[in-house]
C-alpha cells in the first residue's frame, strides 16, 4: 500500500491541534440463534447452511425478536451505566447491498434500548479516563461477500462475488460514544484502552466472546481535529473496520497526523470513510460522502415495540458480574502489584488464567510468575494466545505445589512445564517419565557434596575463611553432578555444615 498522504510528526500535530474522537463498536452477540429467526449462529459452517426464509429475506417472511438478544443488550447497557428505554422500537435502515437480504437492516434509530452512559477506562499508567456513551442499540449483521478474481479480494476488479448469508441476522449491538474530548496526545491510547475495556466488559457479561480477529467485535474510529483553544469540531473522517486493539491505536494516530498535515497545509478535511491497512498502519480514502447518506429510517412495522419492565431490568442489574476494572483493581491489591504490572497482566490476557491457577491452590505470586514468565515467553514464541497454550491453570498450580513441597526446584519445574506443553501428560506424569524428582536422598547428596569439596579445595578454603558467598560455586558443582535434580538450598546447607561455617 502506497501512502500518498503527507503526514506531520505526531508531536507537531498535537502542538497545534486537539483531537476529538468518536468510537463506534459493533459486537456480535453470542446468542445460540439469530436476532430475528431460529437459525444457528455457529461459526465456520458450510456457506448458506444456516439460513431460513427470514434471514434470507424471502418474500413473505417475518422477523421475531430473540429475547436473549434483548436481554444481552440490556446487560451491556446496564454495565455501561446507561439508562434503559421503557419503550423502544426497531427501525429499518434502508440501503442496497447484495449481502443484505432485505436491502434494509433491522436496527434502531431514535429509540435505542440503552442511552446516556459511560465507561471508565484505565490507561497504562493507571490513570482513569471516562468515556461517555451516547447509546447502545440492537441490530442485525449482514451476510458476507467474497469477491473472486480481483487482485486484492476487494470488489474492484473482481469477476464475480460469492454471497454467504450464514452471518445475516446474527445479533449485533452497536455501542456509540459521545465525542471523546480532552484526551490530547493520549487520544490513541484512550481509544485502544476503551476498546480493550469494552471487550473485557462484554466477555465478563458472558454475552459474546468478542474476539476481534474473528470479527465478533469491530470498531470504527471517527476522528477530527480542532485548533487548540477552539470549541467547534472539525470535519471528521470515519475509519471503518479497525479490528485489533493495536490497529485502533494506530488508526487514531495516523489520522491525527494526516489531518494535521492537511489542515496546516491550508487544506480542508473531506468527510469520508477510510480503510485501515494493517501492513503499515495507514488509512486510505474510501467512499466520499458528498451528502449524508439517506437511510430513510422508519419504525419497523413487522415488530412490536420492546418494553422491558422495570422489574426485569432490575433483575438483570442484580445479576451483573463484578465489572472488569473493579475486579482488576481488587486483584491488583490482593496480588500486591503495581498498576503497571497489572496492565502487563491484562495486556498478556493472563488475568483469568492467574485467577484460575490461584483457585487451583497456587500462591498468587507463583501463579503470576509462571504465566507472565515462562508461559508468556512460549506464547510469544509460538504466536498463540496465552489461553491457547496446551496447559491448564490446574496443571500450573500442580507444578507450583511440587515446588512448594520441595519435590521440584525451579529448573526442574521449567522442564516439567515444557513436558506438559509438549503433550507428555500431567506434571506428575512428566516428573515420572523424565525422572525429574529432586535428589533428596541425604546419603547420595552428602557424597556429591563431599566430592565437590574435594575437587575444589581452593574454593573450600575461601569458604572456611568466611567467604560464604563462594559457596555458590560449590552448589553449582553439586547441581551439575546431580543433573540439576538436587534441592539447591539443602545442598548449600550441607556444604556450609561440612565446612563448619554458619550460613
Amino acid at each position: 500500500m502506497t501512502v500518498t498522504d503527507d503526514l506531520v510528526s505526531y508531536e507537531d500535530a498535537l502542538a497545534s491541534y486537539d483531537p476529538v474522537m468518536g468510537l463506534e463498536v459493533h459486537v456480535e452477540l453470542g446468542t445460540r440463534t439469530k436476532m430475528f429467526c431460529g437459525c444457528s449462529t455457529e461459526l465456520g459452517a458450510e456457506p448458506n447452511s444456516q439460513v431460513c426464509p427470514t434471514c434470507l429475506g424471502l418474500p413473505g417472511s417475518l422477523p421475531v425478536v430473540n429475547a436473549v438478544g434483548v436481554e444481552s443488550a440490556i446487560k451491556i447497557g446496564l454495565a455501561l451505566n446507561c439508562e434503559i428505554a421503557q419503550w423502544c422500537r426497531f427501525a429499518r435502515k434502508n440501503y442496497f447491498y447484495p449481502d443484505m437480504p432485505k436491502n434494509f437492516q433491522t436496527s434502531q434509530y431514535d429509540e435505542p434500548i440503552a442511552f446516556n452512559g459511560y465507561l471508565d477506562v484505565a490507561l497504562e499508567d493507571g490513570e482513569v479516563f471516562r468515556v461517555e456513551i451516547e447509546r447502545a442499540h440492537m441490530e442485525e449483521d449482514t451476510g458476507k461477500s467474497t469477491h473472486i478474481g480481483g487482485a486484492t479480494g476487494r470488489i474492484h476488479g473482481a469477476s464475480h462475488s460469492l454471497l454467504d448469508y450464514n452471518r445475516a441476522g446474527i445479533p449485533l449491538i452497536e455501542i456509540v460514544t459521545k465525542p471523546i474530548e480532552g484526551a490530547g496526545e493520549r487520544a490513541p491510547e484512550v481509544a485502544r484502552a476503551y476498546v480493550a475495556e469494552l471487550r473485557e466488559l462484554i466477555r465478563a457479561l458472558g454475552v459474546s466472546e468478542a474476539r476481534m480477529e474473528m470479527g465478533q467485535m469491530r470498531c470504527d474510529v471517527n476522528l477530527s481535529l480542532r485548533p487548540h483553544g477552539t470549541e467547534k469540531f472539525g470535519t471528521r473522517s470515519e475509519t471503518k473496520n479497525v479490528n485489533s486493539l493495536r490497529s485502533v491505536e494506530r488508526a487514531a494516530r495516523f489520522e491525527i497526523q494526516r489531518h494535521a498535515a492537511v489542515l496546516s497545509g491550508g487544506g480542508t478535511i473531506i468527510q469520508e470513510t477510510r480503510h485501515f491497512h494493517e501492513e503499515d498502519g495507514s488509512t486510505t480514502s474510501g467512499r466520499i460522502k458528498e451528502e449524508a447518506e439517506d437511510y430513510r429510517y422508519f419504525p419497523e412495522p413487522d415488530l412490536v415495540p420492546v418494553a422491558p419492565s422495570r422489574e426485569w431490568v432490575e433483575e438483570l442489574r442484580a445479576t451483573l458480574p463484578e465489572l472488569p476494572r473493579v475486579r482488576r483493581e481488587r486483584l491488583r491489591e490482593e496480588w500486591g502489584i503495581s498498576d503497571h504490572e497489572m496492565q502487563s497482566v491484562l495486556n498478556a490476557g493472563a488475568i483469568d488464567l492467574i485467577v484460575a491457577t490461584v483457585d487451583a491452590g497456587a500462591p498468587a505470586d507463583q501463579a503470576r510468575k509462571w504465566w507472565m514468565g515462562e508461559l508468556a515467553r512460549r506464547s510469544n514464541e509460538d504466536g498463540v494466545e496465552l489461553a491457547a497454550l496446551p496447559i491448564t491453570p490446574a496443571q500450573v498450580a500442580r507444578v507450583c505445589a511440587l515446588v512448594a513441597e520441595g519435590k521440584l526446584n525451579d529448573k526442574l519445574a521449567r522442564q516439567v512445564i515444557e513436558g506438559v506443553l509438549a503433550g507428555e501428560g500431567d506434571p506428575d506424569q512428566v516428573v515420572d517419565k523424565r525422572g525429574l524428582a529432586v535428589v533428596s536422598d541425604e546419603g547420595a547428596l552428602g557424597a556429591a557434596v563431599d566430592e565437590a569439596i574435594a575437587g575444589n579445595p581452593g574454593i573450600a578454603d575461601k569458604i572456611r575463611d568466611g567467604k560464604v558467598a563462594a559457596a555458590g560455586a560449590l552448589v553449582g558443582a553439586v547441581m551439575k553432578a546431580t543433573r540439576g535434580q538436587a534441592d539447591a538450598a539443602r545442598v548449600r546447607e550441607l556444604i556450609l555444615e561440612r565446612l563448619g561455617v554458619q550460613g
Binding site: P59, L62, N94, K102, F298
Partner: protein, 497 residues
C-alpha cells in the same frame, strides 16, 4: 347429485362428511369448471391440479378410515397468489417473481392444508396488491363474472371472480386498503377484513406491513365465518399477530340478529362521487336494518376526509422498503446477468423490467416520503392522521355497536376506464381505507344491484378491533333478510358463464 360447484362451502363439507359425495368428485368438478370457463374469466394464475386432487384424496382416505373431518375438509379454495405455497409458484402478480417456487408454506397455507381445505390454485391480483381492478397484474386482467368487460375489483379480483363464477366456493384475499372488500362488493360476494393481526402475515408477501391483513372470501356469510375460523389465531412467527382467542364468528354467523343493536351511519361516506344506485341500495340496507330491529344513529368521523391522503403516504412508504428485497440476487427474475453488468446494474435492470408502472410509482412515492427532510411532513403527518382516524372510530364505537357504509362509491367500472388515472382508481377505496388505518374489522356483503347498471352493490359493516363476531351477526341477519326479499341469493342473477 346436482352441480357440485353451486354448493356453499358448508353444504359441500356436509355432503363430503356424510358420504353423499367425495372430496375428489368435488375437486374434480371445480377443476373441470376452471378448465371450461377460466380462459374467459382469468381468475387463476396457476391451477394446481395434482396438489388439489392429492389433498382431496387425503380427505377421502381420512373419512374412509372413520377419522373425524374438520368443518371445511374437502372444500375447494382459490388462494390469492400473495401467500407462499411450498413447491407451487407464487408471483404476487409480478414478473419480478416469475418462476419463483417458494421453499415454504405461509402460516395461512399451512392452516388451510391442516383443515383439509383443497387448494385449487393461485388467483390473479394487482401486482403486489397495489390496485383496485386487478388490471395491474403483470399477467393480464381478470373479468368480472357479471360483465367480463368490467373489473372484478382489486387487488383480489382473481379471488372474487373465482367465487362469483363458481370456480371455487371459498377464496382467500388480503386487504391493505380494501382489496378484500371492494372486490367482494363489485362481484356480489362476501369478503371480510379481520382485525389487524387476526390472521398471520407469515408467508404473505408484504405490501404495507402495518396495513396488510389476510381474510376470508366466500359467497355466504356463514362460509366466510367457517373460513375465518380456520385461518385466524395467534402465530408465533408473526410478532404482530393477535395473541387472543378468535371471536366466535361461526356461532355469530349462525345466529344473525340485529335487534337492539345500535348501528352508526357514517355521515362522511356519501355525496359527491358516489353513484346514485349505490346510495339507493345503501339506504335500503339501512332501512332493512331498522326494520330488523336495529337503532340507526348518524355519526361523524371528520378525520376520514384525510384517510386517503394518509394511506397514500403510509402504504407507499412501507412498500418502498418491503420491495427493496427484490434485487435479483437470491430469487425471481434476473436481467442483464451476462458478464458485462455489475451487481448494481443487474439489480436496476431487473427492477426496471420486473416491476410494473403502479409498483414503481408507489416505490418512488414512498422513497420520497421517507427521505430525510420530508419524513416529518409526509410519513410523520400521515401517522398523526392515522391516530386521529383511530380516535374517530373509538368515539363512534362509544355510541354504536357497528358502523355501516357503502363498500365502494361505484359499481364495477369497465376495464381500462381508470387504468391511466391513478387518482380515480384510488377513490375506489375511499370507504374501506379507514378500517385499515385503524386496524379494526370490516365486512362487505351484497345488498342488491344498482338500478342504473344492474351491477352488484356492497354494504360495508365495520366493527371495533377484536369484535369480528359482530360483523357476522349483523351480516347474517342482513343476508337472510335480503335473500328472503329477493327470493334467492344475489349471485343467482349473475349471467351464466
Amino acid at each position: 347429485m346436482a352441480d357440485l360447484t353451486r354448493l356453499t362451502a358448508a353444504q359441500t363439507a356436509e355432503a363430503i362428511a356424510s358420504g353423499e359425495t367425495s372430496a375428489v368428485d368435488v375437486a374434480q368438478a371445480h377443476l373441470d369448471r376452471i378448465d371450461a370457463i377460466d380462459e374467459k374469466v382469468h381468475a387463476f394464475l396457476h391451477v394446481d391440479t395434482e396438489g388439489a386432487l392429492a389433498a382431496a384424496r387425503a380427505v377421502d382416505a381420512k373419512r374412509a378410515k372413520g377419522e373425524e373431518l374438520g368443518p371445511l375438509a374437502g372444500v375447494p379454495l382459490a388462494l390469492k397468489d400473495i401467500f407462499t405455497t411450498e413447491g407451487v409458484p407464487t408471483t404476487v402478480g409480478s414478473k419480478i417473481l416469475d418462476g419463483w417456487i417458494p421453499p415454504y408454506d405461509a402460516t395461512l397455507t399451512r392452516r388451510l392444508k391442516e383443515a383439509g381445505v383443497v387448494i385449487l390454485g393461485k388467483t390473479n391480483m394487482d401486482e403486489f396488491a397495489m390496485g383496485s381492478s386487478t388490471e395491474n397484474s403483470a399477467f393480464g386482467p381478470t373479468g368480472n363474472p357479471w360483465d367480463l368487460t368490467r373489473i372484478p375489483g382489486g387487488s383480489g379480483g382473481g379471488s372474487s371472480a373465482a367465487l362469483a363464477s363458481f370456480q371455487a366456493p371459498l377464496a382467500i384475499g388480503t386487504d391493505t386498503g380494501g382489496s378484500i372488500r371492494q372486490p367482494a362488493a363489485v362481484t356480489g360476494t362476501v369478503g371480510v377484513k379481520p382485525t389487524y393481526g387476526a390472521v398471520s402475515r407469515y408467508g404473505m408477501v408484504a405490501f404495507s406491513s402495518s396495513l396488510d391483513q389476510g381474510g376470508p372470501c366466500a359467497r355466504t356469510v356463514l362460509d366466510a365465518a367457517l373460513l375465518h375460523e380456520a385461518i385466524a389465531g395467534h402465530d408465533p412467527l408473526d410478532s404482530t399477530s393477535v395473541d387472543a382467542p378468535v371471536p366466535a364468528v361461526v356461532e355469530a354467523a349462525r345466529n344473525g340478529d340485529v335487534r337492539g343493536l345500535r348501528v352508526g351511519v357514517v355521515k362522511e361516506f356519501g355525496g359527491e362521487g358516489y353513484q346514485d344506485g349505490v346510495m339507493t341500495r345503501f339506504h335500503e340496507s339501512v332501512e332493512l336494518l331498522r326494520e330488523l330491529g336495529a337503532e340507526i344513529v348518524e355519526v361523524s368521523c371528520p378525520s376520514f376526509t384525510y384517510a386517503l391522503a394518509a394511506y397514500y403516504l403510509i402504504a407507499p412508504s412501507e412498500c418502498s422498503s418491503n420491495l427493496a428485497r427484490f434485487d435479483a440476487m437470491r430469487y425471481g427474475l434476473r436481467v442483464g446477468d451476462d458478464g458485462t453488468h455489475s451487481a448494481e446494474e443487474v439489480t436496476a435492470l431487473t427492477r426496471e423490467a420486473g416491476f410494473g408502472a403502479e409498483v414503481k410509482r408507489r416505490i418512488m412515492l414512498g422513497t420520497y416520503a421517507l427521505s430525510s427532510g420530508y419524513y416529518d411532513a409526509y410519513y410523520g403527518s400521515a401517522q398523526k392522521v392515522r391516530t386521529l382516524i383511530t380516535r374517530d372510530f373509538e368515539r363512534a364505537f362509544g355510541d354504536v355497536d357497528v358502523l355501516v357504509s357503502p363498500t365502494t362509491p361505484t359499481t364495477a367500472f369497465p376495464i381500462g376506464e381508470r387504468a391511466d388515472d391513478p387518482m380515480a382508481m384510488y377513490l375506489a377505496d375511499l370507504c374501506t381505507i379507514p378500517s385499515n388505518l385503524a386496524g379494526n374489522a370490516a365486512m362487505s356483503l351484497p345488498c342488491g344491484l344498482a338500478p342504473e347498471d344492474g351491477l352488484p352493490v356492497g354494504l360495508q359493516i365495520i366493527a371495533p378491533a377484536l369484535a369480528d363476531d359482530r360483523l357476522y351477526r349483523v351480516g347474517a341477519a342482513v343476508e337472510s333478510a335480503f335473500i328472503a326479499r329477493w327470493g334467492h341469493p344475489l349471485l343467482e342473477e349473475a349471467p351464466t358463464l
